[in-house]
Subunit: 241 residues, 4 copies
Amino acid sequence: MSEPTRVLIWNEYRHERERQEVRDIYPDGIHGQIAGGIASDDLDIRTATLDEPEQGLSEEVLDWADVVVWWAHLAHLEVEEEIVQRVHQRVLSGMGFVALHSTHDSKIFKRLLGTSCSLKWREANEAEILWNLQPSHPICRGIGERIELDHEEMYGERFDVPEPEELLFLSWFQGGEVFRSGCTWRRGHGRIVYFRPGHETHPTYYNESVLRVIGNAVRWAKRTMNLPTECTNPDPVRSIT
Amino acid sequence: MSEPTRVLIWNEYRHERERQEVRDIYPDGIHGQIAGGIASDDLDIRTATLDEPEQGLSEEVLDWADVVVWWAHLAHLEVEEEIVQRVHQRVLSGMGFVALHSTHDSKIFKRLLGTSCSLKWREANEAEILWNLQPSHPICRGIGERIELDHEEMYGERFDVPEPEELLFLSWFQGGEVFRSGCTWRRGHGRIVYFRPGHETHPTYYNESVLRVIGNAVRWAKRTMNLPTECTNPDPVRSIT
Amino acid sequence: MSEPTRVLIWNEYRHERERQEVRDIYPDGIHGQIAGGIASDDLDIRTATLDEPEQGLSEEVLDWADVVVWWAHLAHLEVEEEIVQRVHQRVLSGMGFVALHSTHDSKIFKRLLGTSCSLKWREANEAEILWNLQPSHPICRGIGERIELDHEEMYGERFDVPEPEELLFLSWFQGGEVFRSGCTWRRGHGRIVYFRPGHETHPTYYNESVLRVIGNAVRWAKRTMNLPTECTNPDPVRSIT
Amino acid sequence: MSEPTRVLIWNEYRHERERQEVRDIYPDGIHGQIAGGIASDDLDIRTATLDEPEQGLSEEVLDWADVVVWWAHLAHLEVEEEIVQRVHQRVLSGMGFVALHSTHDSKIFKRLLGTSCSLKWREANEAEILWNLQPSHPICRGIGERIELDHEEMYGERFDVPEPEELLFLSWFQGGEVFRSGCTWRRGHGRIVYFRPGHETHPTYYNESVLRVIGNAVRWAKRTMNLPTECTNPDPVRSIT
């Protein structure tokens, strides 16, 4: 059997410690819930959080990881520039990156995509329907035609991201907005997935389809090689004279 | 008649002052040669250089510009982070950006694209042929099937950039390499063009076809609107209850 | 002043002649309403319909046209193969093609895109909101954040088209579906726009924003050159020996 | 262990029977050489040729196949329209399609892509270098920086295809041309690969790297699901009243 995929689930882990209503939903943190929810023999899963040494993202753990899942919201600005660059370099050399929900506004996501990644938002406990546009894509496997969530935060267009290379999910919101909720891009040798759902006040990461998309995404985005991205100065292949 | 397009040609302007062989080719600087070479009634052109106050890129001049043309090589690391952010924000709000030659390794280009933008290179005075892949694209208008340059620096693949949205030119080099020499991307509301030729030791910016591509590119990439990219929190369009 | 853009608006023109409720809305046909609605000094507009000689698409009129706007629904299968090929070749050589609403299922649209172009649909007079994703794109110019239509036919994903090169509008429907309602692709030297709204039983083509999008689209997609697409067998550029 | 991938290698098989110089290189036909060259435990390989019943492409064999590899040159026009439609439908429902060399001009390839797929060509036994642009892509795995072929037919740009979704290989030719030699697109639920090398008068399909790319491509493009592409008329998900 092939080696398991090494998955690092990184969570800001502030909401869960600071607000009882969030802790009630995610007593082990969002990272803990996702780690349990996608557990499988072919995945070797670790978790890390912002308030750990080196913000949970040492060179060692990043050398280990094939793919990082990221959830953050309140403390984007606390992530140190050096850590951002460290993760950025790993993605360019082939590590996968799965950005969940409010990670849209993180330094690392914006660094990878080059845009503001801004959007409209509203907390109104409204219904969301995610339509599966690419049922034959590995990330959408096992998901039916749609995922319905009774209560979620609304994210609305215009989502300021580069045109996705693959658009996998589109969301409908009760209040009238739409959103590109599942997107992929490549940067360097790394693969990036954005998946929208998961506001901290809703039990979204208990939804089986949401967990399946995340599990599919880590398998799709995982590192397959470790390639350099430096400039080189070679001799000609063919004689110039 | 409509307003002329406001073009800022920014040049590092170090090679020309430091090396006689470069000054012989570009006595007015690369910026001066390009400014003269693309001059036209529908363009209002200014130039700026790295060693001017605010590195030539004040808020005022950037508010003025519809599009910036950028040439740099030696001193990428001297461009201040604040200036990089200033230009980045302008591009996201709609200003065009035309990156020439060694600008591939500038902070601002890498910030916009999110990758290392690394490549292979060789200074061997070898022949380059640029093939025009999209003769009906506005940037390629008036260029025939190909542009031939007798002596240029070689740039070779793998060019570590996100997949171009439009691939306009492909280069052949005498020594055996190939390169994606004309590419476009969109970031935020801004349009980005990369155009490869123009090593400082060759008179490439006197070539009529090369000048025509740059002139076409500024017209294609110019700002058409000034749009914000901030997150907003709107009321529902449709009643949620 | 430059030459006006030559626009051919082609309509199946069956619903309007066969059903009173449609004729009441479009007494001059959908083609007549659009022609009047986008009239402008910079556009030279003609109309044509299926039941005219050569199905309204003679070599002469296609040689004349810079861009064709197409509306059809009932009679897709009546369009002759020769006519489909004639239009196809014109698009590949540079003529623009703007496909409206049920044109998604026409032979020519499927021929250009290579897919089934299938979708979900429902006639339930429900509300539609079209969100403008690219306000700085020429096709979206002058359209605000969104277009609201009180009653339209629903089109829902999965829309079986190649990933759009530019996704301009996303629709929200009252019944829970979403749709990629404004899309562009390039084929050969031609530019293709798909724009969703316009069911024959609704006065959609009287909406100022809908008309503006169509007017913008013909200007964006119009032919700029007439280029061949044949294989050629050239001598080497560089000596091979 | 998972089921082997079912690969159908389809060859026109005329050159090999009609010209001694081709038969000397490919005594078992190009299909036979590729079948042997990519043989592996995880692939279940069949071959078929144009002059067999139903042109080698019965409903049964297409129902069986997860992916088709296609080589053709002289007899594109002999492939019956019904067969083209049969293959087209299979690709849209999820079957992979790997187009080799002169298949660029086949009916099925042009039907899938929607363009003329024209190009420049020259038979001059010149050297070709294929540069690997995406070493971390599954199709490029195990291929180094480049593939060198001492003698091949030249194919040159402009290759009239829709912008590739992934550009994997770029070719350099001794005579001065370049070519997008490895490309992928998606159509419906199917994945399409174009790979350039393989003129019938050269022993290209004995090259280990060329065979490896073809083997990688069939594994990447293989069917993963069998999905319909028909229009459907569903009830609303959400109450409209």
